[in-house]
Symmetry: C2
Subunit: 351 residues, 2 copies
DNA sequence: TTTTTTTACGCAATCGTTCCCGGTAACGAT
DNA sequence: ATCGTTACCGGGAACGATTGCGTAAAAAAA
C-alpha cells in the first residue's frame, strides 16, 4: 500500500526542466522567467504538488514537530494545555507529538528517548510524580534541545518555564476555608518534591499562619502517584480520619485528588460541606454539577499552553543560544461553590 | 539552537571505515567481521548513536507515524480511544499525531491536508458533526492512504471501521427507561446524518416500538454542533419543555449532550429522576459523583482505539492492496444509577 | 603453485529537496 | 570585435541511511 505523491523531479521531467529550476520556480526565485514560473506553478497546482516535508526535514535538519509529555491527556487540565499548545503550533507550521508518562518515570524516559530519536525540534513537558532524577533532561538541554517546562517544573534546569500562581491559588483557597469557619484543614497532595506540591503547600501553610492556625504536619498527606492509583487516596483518607480530632476540611492540590476525595467522602457517608469542607485544584468542567458543586481553584490551562509554545518557538527559532530565561506565572481563579459553604455552627464559632 | 546528533558518517570517520560498513555492522550483517562489528557497536553505544528516522523515512518512503483526527481530546471518550491507539502504535514503532476538528468541517479538512502533507502512513478518524461531503476522504482513500474510521464512520467508503454497538446500547438504555416507568421519552442527539445518531436513534425507536410506545418525532431533537455550543442544548431543551405534555425522561446520545442536559435540568430546578429521568452515552469517569449519579451507556473506548490501530496496521503493512474490509462492533455497558431510579408513582403506573 | 572461493569491505546510487556553482545566450557599451 | 551585464537555467553536491555490486586480500581447494 503506497500512497505516491508527485515530486519536483516529476515536474521537471514533464516540463523538460531541471529540478533546480523547478525548485526555484516554486519558491518564486528572481532568476526564473515569469513564463517558466507560470508553467511550473500551473503544473504543480494541477497535479496537486506538495513539497515532501520529510525531504525538507532532512535537508534543513529540523522536523518542524515538537514533543509534549504529560502524565495523561484524559485529564482536563492537560488536554486544555495541549489545546493551547496546538493552537500556536499549528499557526506556525509545527505539529505536536503527544506522549503520556502515566506518572511513571520509566515511561517518561522511554517517551523522551522516543521523541528525541524522532528528532523533535523542541520539548514541552510537565514531569511525572515519580521523577526525581533530572540527569537526562540536563543532558538533552546541554546538547541544545530547546525545552520548556510547565506546571511541574524542574528548578535545577535553566530554561523557560510556565506555571500558574500556585502559591496564591493555594493561599486563597485555604484562606477561604478559614473564612468559612474551618479550623482543622488537611491537605492532600502530590509527592512532596514536585514543584507544584511545594508551591501549593507553601501557600496553604502561609494562609494558616496568617490566620494564626498552627500548621499540623499530620494533616498533610502525600499521594505518591498523584491519585493515578485509586487506593492511595483511600489510604491517605483513612489515615486522616483516624486522627483525633480529625480534619474538618480538605484542601486537595490536584484534579484527580480533588474528585478522588469527594468520591471517598461520599463513600464514607460524610456530608460535604457539613461534616467536611472540600476545595481543590481542578480544571474539570463538570465540577459545578457534582454533589455538592465543588469549590475549586482553576488554572488558566489553555493560556498556559499558548505561552509555553510561544516560548518554545522563541527558543527554537533563535539564531544564537538563548541565555536569559523567564518563568511566566499566570493567575489562578477561585470558584466558590457549595462544597465550602459557610455553615451556621462554624460561622458562629468564627464570629 | 541546533541539537546535533551523531551520524553514521561520524562513526565511519572516527573508525576509518566506510558508511556502508558501519551501516551493515549496526544491522548485524553477516558480511562484516566480528571484530569490526564490535568496534562499531561499542563506538555507537558510547556515543549514543540513534539512526536518524527522517533519513530512514525518506529512504523507505514511510514516516512511521499515523494521524488521528477527533473533534476534541478534552473529551473522555476520545482521550480514552487515543490511549488505546497509542498503546498499540508505540509497541509497533509508530507515533501518533493528534489533530482536533472541534466539530468543524473546515478545520477537519485543514487538519487532513496538514497531516497528509506531513506524509502520515495512515489515518484514524471520527468525523465531525458538520461533515457531509466525503469527497476528500474518497480521494485520499483511492490514492492509497490507509484509513480506519471509528465511532462516527462514513458508510460510503469501504475500509475498516470500528464502532460500539450503538443500536443495542440505545435500545437497552431506552428499555431501561421504559422499565422505570417513563413513557414520554425524549431523545437529544447529534445531527441526524451522523452514523452514531442513526444507529442510536434506531435503537431508541425500536425499544419504544417493542414497548408499544408510539414514536413521537417531536420528542427527538438534534444539536447541530454536538453540544460544542452550549446554547444549542438549551434551545433544544426549551423546545422540549414547551411541549404539552412534555417528556418525562431524556435519552441523550452523546457525552456532551448528557452532561449538558443535566446542567440545564438543574438550572431549571427540575428534579432528576423525579421530574425527569435522564440517561445517556458517556465515558466521563465522574458521572457517579454527579447530582444525581447518572445512569449511562459506556463505550469500550480504550479497546476501540486498540482495535482501530491494529486494523490500521494491517492496512499499512499489507503488501498487496487489501480488498475485504471489516467493521468491528464492540459491546457497550449499561450502568444504572440514580438518574433513572424507579419512582413509586411511575412504578405503580407501570404495575 | 595456481585457481577458486570466501571474507570483508568500499563505491555509488537512491529517497526529495535546496543551493552553491557554474554556464550560455542576448544585448548594450566601448 | 570585445567586454561586461543581465537574465535564465542546469549540474551536482549535500542531508543520513540502506543496499546492490564490485573487488582486494585471505583462505581454501585444485
Amino acid at each position: 500500500m503506497k500512497f505516491e505523491a508527485i515530486t519536483i523531479k516529476d515536474i521537471a521531467k514533464a516540463l523538460g526542466l531541471s529540478t533546480s529550476t523547478v525548485s526555484r520556480a516554486l519558491r518564486d526565485s528572481y532568476e526564473i522567467s515569469p513564463e517558466t514560473k507560470r508553467l511550473v506553478l500551473e503544473y504543480a497546482e494541477k497535479n496537486n504538488y506538495h513539497p515532501n516535508p520529510i525531504a525538507l526535514s532532512l535537508k534543513e535538519r529540523r522536523s518542524r514537530s515538537i514533543g509534549v509529555i504529560v502524565c495523561e491527556i484524559a485529564n482536563s487540565y492537560f488536554s486544555q494545555v495541549i489545546n493551547g499548545i496546538e493552537s500556536i503550533a499549528y499557526n506556525n507550521g509545527y505539529n505536536v507529538i503527544i506522549a503520556q508518562s502515566r506518572e511513571s518515570f520509566d515511561r517518561e524516559m522511554l517517551n523522551l528517548q522516543y521523541l528525541t530519536s524522532r528528532s523533535i525540534d523542541g520539548l514541552i513537558i510537565s514531569i511525572s510524580t515519580e521523577t526525581k532524577d533530572f540527569s537526562y533532561f540536563k543532558e538533552l538541554h546541554q546538547k541544545g534541545l530547546p525545552i520548556v517546562f510547565f506546571d511541574r517544573i524542574v528548578s535545577e534546569i535553566e530554561t523557560h518555564k510556565v506555571i500558574a500562581d500556585n502559591y496564591k491559588g493555594a493561599y486563597d483557597a485555604t484562606m477561604h476555608l478559614v473564612n468559612c469557619g474551618y479550623r482543622r484543614i488537611a491537605a492532600i497532595s502530590n509527592p512532596a518534591l514536585l514543584s507544584i506540591t511545594k508551591e501549593r503547600l507553601a501557600g496553604y501553610k502561609a494562609a494558616l499562619v496568617d490566620s494564626s492556625i498552627e500548621v499540623n504536619e499530620a494533616l498533610i498527606k502525600y499521594c505518591q502517584h498523584g491519585g493515578m492509583i485509586v487506593s492511595e487516596v483511600e489510604e491517605v483518607a483513612k489515615e486522616l480520619f483516624k486522627l483525633k480530632p480529625g480534619p474538618d476540611a480538605i484542601f486537595a492540590t490536584a484534579d484527580k485528588l480533588t474528585t478522588g476525595c469527594l468520591r471517598i467522602l461520599k463513600a464514607k457517608g460524610m456530608r460535604v460541606p457539613h461534616d467536611m469542607g472540600l476545595i481543590g485544584f481542578s480544571n474539570t468542567d463538570l465540577t459545578d454539577l457534582l454533589d455538592p458543586p465543588l469549590s475549586i481553584i482553576k488554572q488558566p490551562a489553555f493560556e498556559m499552553g499558548e505561552v509555553a509554545m510561544t516560548l518554545l518557538l522563541q527558543l527554537i527559532e533563535s539564531k544564537r543560544p538563548v541565555t536569559n530565561f523567564e518563568t511566566r506565572v499566570l493567575s489562578t481563579q477561585l470558584l466558590i461553590r457549595d462544597s465550602t459553604k459557610i455553615m451556621k455552627k462554624k460561622a458562629d464559632e468564627f464570629a
